[in-house]
């Protein structure tokens, strides 16, 4: 029982060590694949599209990526446990309305116009956006787990409810007139290229990556996505972890709402329509398995970048915006098709 060495280790086992080349291919087929595709795309557009390789353009792209990156990171948590959250776009709208109502000294209609000092209103806005987002996420997760309703249905309901609430609270109008300090903060660019709120997005990516990789919570996220029953039979309760994934997704939707305010300087009940689809697309392109358990936020980040670079590049090439939407959809489908081949290729390399 306590043999010091395992003799079987020296001889080739049934499933042999993979040759170095194959391992490189396997790695390349994971997140790095999206990264390579992204680099290629940037290089190609830099050559063929006028103005693409300019600092102004890159600055715009970084700005545009920020919101989708934050939403997609949250979505990654939910998809990793085998769920889906369709409500993030609507929750974002709700938080922009509430945030703008707190920030704006006066409003024309709807709630708000509290006339708060920016020193008070800005921190209050941050807290409100995060709390409202996390609250919506908690409802999504709790209903999904408590009554075993598919998350697709629960979050579809939340999508409608949050949108409706944002319309009621704002009385169907856009809330503008945010304090100057706040607007200025939204315009801050480091080195004239990197918007301040892009830094928020990057920090979110890094923290999420760290949490998924090095914490017990992250380990459970992957384990539950792979085999929830095995986790339960190992003596753990998967439900709180799953609810937490939805809370994180909602919280990040709230944070994305705050970034929306920074970037567009207005809260709107029609903000974020279709954002949930962009976020899901980024996650899928980034290589996260739709059935859960496999994937990473680094891949998601690359996926979000790829979508935006593709969109901007096509616009600069003079492709009509409608055409761009079609091409984006095509890329999502191709990514999923490619994913099925990827798993097959990896399996066959392993089996050798």
């Amino acid at each position: 029982m306590s043999t010091p060495t395992n003799p079987s280790r020296q001889q080739p086992a049934r499933v042999g060590e993979m040759p170095l080349g194959s391992r490189a291919v396997v790695f390349g087929l994971r997140e790095a694949g999206v990264g390579v595709a992204l680099l290629l795309l940037i290089v190609v557009f830099s050559i063929v599209a006028p103005y693409f390789a300019t600092t102004d353009n890159f600055s715009v792209i970084l700005g545009q990526i920020s919101i989708n990156t934050i939403l997609a990171v949250g979505m990654t948590f939910v998809i990793l446990i085998g769920g889906i959250d369709l409500s993030v776009g609507s929750v974002l709208a709700l938080t922009t309305v509430i945030g703008a109502a707190i920030l704006a000294p006066t409003v024309m209609t709807g709630i708000g116009g509290f006339g708060l000092d920016p020193l008070v209103s800005i921190p209050l806005t941050i807290v409100a956006c995060l709390a409202v987002g996390a609250g919506c996420g908690f409802i999504n997760g709790f209903v999904t787990e408590r009554w075993r309703v598919p998350s697709f249905i629960v979050t579809l309901g939340m999508m409608s409810m949050a949108r409706g609430a944002s319309q009621v609270l704002s009385n169907n109008s856009t809330i503008t007139g945010l304090p100057k300090v706040f607007k200025d903060a939204g315009n801050v660019r480091f080195f004239d290229i990197v918007p301040a709120y892009f830094v928020i997005a990057i920090v979110v990516v890094l923290v999420a990556w760290f949490v998924l990789r090095y914490t017990v919570f992250g380990r459970f996220i992957y384990a539950i996505g792979n085999n929830e029953e095995a986790v339960r039979l190992s003596g753990h309760n998967p439900k709180p972890v799953k609810v937490a994934a939805f809370v994180i997704c909602g919280l990040l939707a709230g944070l994305a709402g705050f970034v929306f305010l920074l970037r567009l300087k207005a809260g709107s009940p029609i903000a974020g329509v279709g954002y949930e689809l962009d976020a899901i697309a980024a996650v899928i392109i980034g290589g996260t398995s739709f059935s859960g358990g496999k994937g990473s936020v680094i891949g998601t980040f690359f996926g979000a970048c790829l979508l935006q670079v593709l969109g901007t590049g096509l616009v600069l090439l003079g492709v009509e915006d409608n055409m761009r939407v079609i091409i984006t959809g095509l890329v999502v489908i191709l990514a999923v098709v490619f994913d099925t081949y990827r798993s097959r290729i990896i399996a066959s390399l392993r089996a050798r």
Binding site: A223, N226, R232
Partner: protein, 539 residues
């Protein structure tokens, strides 16, 4: 007749006149010759030959894993044989898929019924051959057929009743009626009476007699040996995948049939380790009740002891173990670990109490296949590899490495993904994860299923080592020689109840089987009871 006769008691020559009630002289309906089938690690069928006559009820019996299911699967085209041939009405019969079997008139009514729950009886009956008129379903024809078939099986229910509204017995009648639609020649009934009341069983038998009178052959598979006596014309006994005997039912007793099922000399090749001293009582279960339970279950396991749990498939063994572990909630009873009562509502409580369950289905319940050995191992006690909330992957790898060495797991490294390990090594990873959790009571459910022979003995050695270290072990197994070979004591389940316990001195395949079949016999004949030690067991 050049078929190789592998046993002395061959009575199934086509010339033998049996099959009362058959129209005309009975002719061989289906002949199976030297049929073999191998699955990884197990020879499920080994040159089995038998003949089913037209118009007879042919009972097929054998203990768990004797090859009954495999034979049915080959007849119905679900599995392909590795060797041998089949003749249907004297013509070669090859079923490459279920469609071929259906076309040839071989129908199976499985225990788990295959009906479309939300559709009506008539739609279910004709589903495979919907009568159509210009692409539309011909409702009138559908109804006409249904009425005819329902009358044939004597089911008096409107044909437009949705199947979900039927009782289980009625569903079974619908299944049989469906089998009749396509001009069945051979009807295979797999445990048809398991869920029926005695009256429904009588009704079913009436229908079976009607069918055989029309010349249909029936292959009847059941745990209930007295039903074999009642309805069967002949009985074939399988043993370890081999043909053991075919007898006229009238000329054989239940006890003789059990005798025929008993195979090899016991404990062959199992160097059983005598446990010198049994330790304290680790686990005691008293009056455990759970969903589907017939009689409260009581068991106890001592430190260093290996308790075997025997019983036919479906006798409630696994359910009892799942209830002890909290995988399914128990409805009553008292569990004590080292004399202390523990309340187990979910697996978490059991793990805390030092009890673990190594499930029958490793891949879907025991392991997270796409994660690494290390990740699978430490999941039971992650707090041991966490510092300040963060996973210490180096420590995790080291801990796993130690277990990989200790259990001789053939894995490249702790970071090898479990999916790519062999079955035996996957099982060892499951053991590793529970050793990591420092479990004291290990419940193995079918620990060697799907594991090849060499690796099986490694698992046995592992189980013995665990017992040596003072763990309490429960092994549930359908492999009787395995239980006889490795256990100190065997508790036998029969139809949802523990009917007896055998100490090692009383071990024999016959004794276990007699207990296992006891509650399936309508009137338990006292004479059939083995001399046994029922250490205070309610029975």
């Amino acid at each position: 007749m050049d078929r190789s006769v592998s046993g002395p008691e061959r009575l199934d020559d086509a010339s033998v006149t049996v099959a009362p009630g058959a129209a005309g002289s009975p002719s061989p309906l289906i002949e199976v010759r030297d049929l073999s089938k191998e699955f990884p690690g197990v020879r499920a069928l080994d040159a089995v030959s038998m003949t089913i006559l037209a118009g007879e009820v042919h009972a097929l019996v054998g203990e768990n894993g004797a090859g009954k299911s495999t034979l049915v699967k080959i007849l119905s085209g679900v599995e392909q044989p590795d060797g041998g041939e089949m003749l249907l009405n004297g013509q070669p019969y090859v079923a490459r898929g279920p469609q071929d079997a259906l076309a040839a008139g071989i129908r199976v009514v499985y225990q788990e019924l295959n009906l479309l729950t939300y559709l009506t009886i008539e739609e279910n009956l004709s589903f495979e051959h919907l009568p159509a008129h210009r692409g539309l379903v011909d409702r009138r024809e559908l109804r006409r057929r249904a009425e005819e078939l329902l009358e044939e099986v004597g089911l008096d229910v409107p044909p437009d009743t949705p199947v979900e509204e039927l009782g289980i017995a009625q569903m079974q009648m619908v299944e049989i009626a469906r089998a009749l639609l396509t001009d069945a020649k051979l009807l295979i009934l797999d445990e048809p009476t398991a869920t029926l009341t005695p009256r429904e069983v009588d009704r079913l038998f009436g229908i079976i007699r009607q069918l055989t009178a029309q010349g249909i052959g029936v292959l009847f598979i059941s745990h209930h040996l007295d039903e074999m006596k009642e309805i069967g014309d002949r009985v074939t006994v399988l043993r370890n995948g081999q043909w053991a005997a075919t007898r006229d039912v009238a000329a054989v007793t239940v006890a003789e049939v059990i005798e025929l099922m008993v195979g090899r000399a016991m404990a062959e090749g199992f160097p059983f380790r005598e446990q010198v001293v049994l330790g304290e009582e680790l686990l005691s279960v008293d009056g455990l009740t759970y969903h589907g339970n017939i009689e409260p279950v009581s068991l106890r396991v001592h430190a260093g002891e290996i308790l075997g749990i025997a019983g036919l498939v479906g006798s409630g063994r696994t359910e009892a173990m799942r209830a002890i572990f909290g995988a399914d909630r128990a409805t009553g009873g008292v569990l004590r670990v080292r004399g202390e009562p523990v309340h187990i509502r979910e697996p978490r409580d059991a793990v805390r109490a030092g009890i673990c369950l190594l499930t029958e289905d490793r891949k879907s319940q025991g392991l997270i296949l796409d994660m690494t050995c290390a990740q699978n191992t430490t999941i039971t006690r992650l707090e041991a590899v966490v510092q300040r909330g963060l996973l210490q992957t180096a420590r995790e790898a080291a801990e796993t490495e130690a277990l990989i060495d200790a259990l001789s797991i053939k894995a490249q490294s702790p970071s090898q993904v479990v999916r790519f390990l062999s079955g035996g090594n996957q099982q060892k990873v499951v053991v590793a994860k529970w050793l990591f959790a420092e479990s004291q009571i290990l419940i193995f459910d079918e620990p060697t299923r799907g594991i090849d022979v060499g690796a099986k003995f490694e698992i046995y050695n592992l189980i013995w080592d665990l017992a040596d270290r003072g763990k309490g072990i429960i092994v549930v197994s359908s492999d009787l020689p395995e239980l006889l070979g490795i256990c100190h004591r065997i508790a036998v389940f029969s139809k949802g109840a523990v009917v007896g316990e055998l100490p090692r001195e009383a071990f024999s395949e016959k004794a276990v089987l007699e207990l296992a079949y006891r509650n399936y016999l309508a009137t338990a004949a006292p004479a059939a009871r083995a001399p046994m030690n029922t250490t205070g067991m309610p029975s």
